[in-house]
Symmetry: C2
């Protein structure tokens, strides 16, 4: 099933069940009002949501309404744990083969799919980071990767914003994370969910140009079970923990005269790394006010799995001044050469 | 007022108001069942809790019962953000003068004052870390340290367990954090709360011996407003964020023939650092199964402000094996020489 959280002015929003094709939705209020409730009591509540989902997909839900991603908060707006890895192995510098680079972040303030990216200054090196995450059940300390994988409840689409400017501390560099409109159970993914990875291409558009189309499963060195198990080596995880695999990237391929990265990039930093490798210097600038992002994943039939993350970078106004919105600038295309 | 969260089998427990002398308590259920609710809606709910607190302290609360710290969960068992700094300046190596060393951690699974410290192996370099933290209101992005200080709702006593063994990643090193039985509003602290610091000595006992009695306000280089403002430089904080100042430590003093640290230590790592400085080698070992800890802070009248953290280190049993409990070993005394 597909679950979303609608804005209602509260901090946790209202849980809705969304049809597979994302056309219509239905409030889950008679079953649970918040997704965390469902995660806390999954075995009791999930079957009830599944019944509602079945009715919705069969056109039998009586109070269905058109689904609007702009009304969405993050599917889980406050999480007890939000950890982001750097789990891809594209053969680029700064990747670690020794550990998955998991960093813990703020679990509150997780943003909705169409919320703006509020930024203080274009000088902060504002970057996007498109990828996938999972929401877990309770996972015991010292769970094996296989046990951990059994505890994956939902898959999410993620845009983890990073600030690259000098002078910021690690605690300041990840100010904003947005999630795709709907959270998806594994049965919705079919064969594309295999070996703890989602084997589908991710599409990222920057100011309307497609800049990334990497395979999300292909070069993921640590699968989601391994990422969860890494965290569980010294502690249990509670239901509703979100674990992200980091920016999706694929290995380069040998081109006519040099290495090429035909699948583009899902973070500007990756593009800059490739530029520095090939040309001795990074040329692409980071995000500017007014820039737009669109991140989406489609299944083999072309159906959008999570809905799209569609965000605009907006200037955070100084106190007392209305928000300034700049104009987007042209982004480089995905195709190298 | 003083607030605690009683265990009731649920993940969030039941909010109780506790008398100033920690003798009796009263369920807050007619006002709010969870502390997060109160933080989300402080201006409406806090005055009602204050009325209950006043009645309790005046002996007029009708359903009061004896307060038992062993029934306590963390005052806020799941937080949207848990960040721990290293804000003290004791002139020891590895302290940074450049930034407060804030690290984000897991907001879920925060432990109660008398919960055990579950550990896998004595070889993991298990350490305690006694100090203070604050729970915040909503704090806007780019809040000044003074604004941030105005958003401090509650003060907490903390034991942040750290694993020092080689081979663990940063995401694995902070497996367990416990909090004192009660969270305390600033009005309970009187003049001891000054300049964003709590100007009182902290007492730590290890296996019954007092090993630390450092002043918690004296050498805190960054005050709580500065710590919160550091996090808010790039993001807002949501109500219910917990920000810890790190292990309390004081500067050494010139002794007869060498530097001395008469106030002892609140983390074994600090003791080992001093040993390495003075003797060329760390001698004190880390925690063993069965070791006990007691962390407490008393006001000028000798009244326990937060109640005591009293924990035992227990071996996490391998699957299917009952928990093994070792015997405590003697801890070195606080007084050097």
């Amino acid at each position: 099933m597909k679950l979303a959280t609608y804005k209602d002015g509260s901090r946790d929003g209202q849980l809705v069940v969304v049809a597979r094709d994302l056309s219509i939705a239905h409030y889950a209020s008679t079953i649970a009002s918040r997704l965390q409730q469902v995660l806390d009591d999954w075995n009791f509540l999930a079957p009830q949501l599944q019944d509602l989902s079945d009715a919705l997909n069969a056109g039998r839900a009586r109070h269905a309404f058109p689904f609007d991603p702009r009304q969405c908060m993050a599917p889980l707006p406050r999480a007890g744990l939000w950890a982001l890895a750097d789990a891809y192995d594209a053969g680029l510098p700064a990747e670690s083969a020794a550990d998955p680079g998991l960093r813990l972040g703020a679990g509150h303030g997780l943003a909705g799919a169409c919320d703006p990216v509020p930024a203080l200054s274009e000088q902060q090196g504002i970057d996007f980071g498109a990828g996938l995450a999972v929401v877990t059940a309770d996972i015991p300390q010292r769970a094996s990767p296989e046990q951990a994988l059994d505890g994956v409840r939902l898959v999410l689409l993620v845009n983890a914003v990073v600030l690259h400017a000098d002078g910021l501390t690690a605690a300041q560099r990840q100010p904003h994370t947005a999630f795709g409109p709907v959270a998806v159970t594994l049965d919705e993914l079919g064969d594309a969910w295999a070996q703890g990875r989602l084997q589908l291409p991710l599409q990222t558009h920057w100011n309307g140009r497609r800049v990334g189309m990497a395979e999300a499963g292909a070069d993921m060195r640590w699968h989601f079970g391994e990422l969860i198990a890494h965290l569980c080596a010294t502690r249990p995880l509670a239901a509703g923990s979100i674990v992200g695999a980091g920016t999706v990237r694929n290995r380069g391929v040998e081109g006519k005269s040099r290495m090429e990265w035909p699948k583009g990039f899902h973070a500007i930093a990756d593009k800059r790394t490739v530029e520095a490798l090939r040309d001795g210097q990074a040329a692409t600038g980071f995000l500017r006010f007014g820039d737009s992002l669109r991140i989406e994943m489609k299944d083999a039939d072309g159906l959008s799995l999570f809905g799209a993350i569609e965000q605009e970078v907006v200037a955070l106004a100084p106190p007392g001044v209305a928000s300034a919105r700049g104009r987007g600038h042209a982004a480089p295309a995905a195709q190298e050469d």
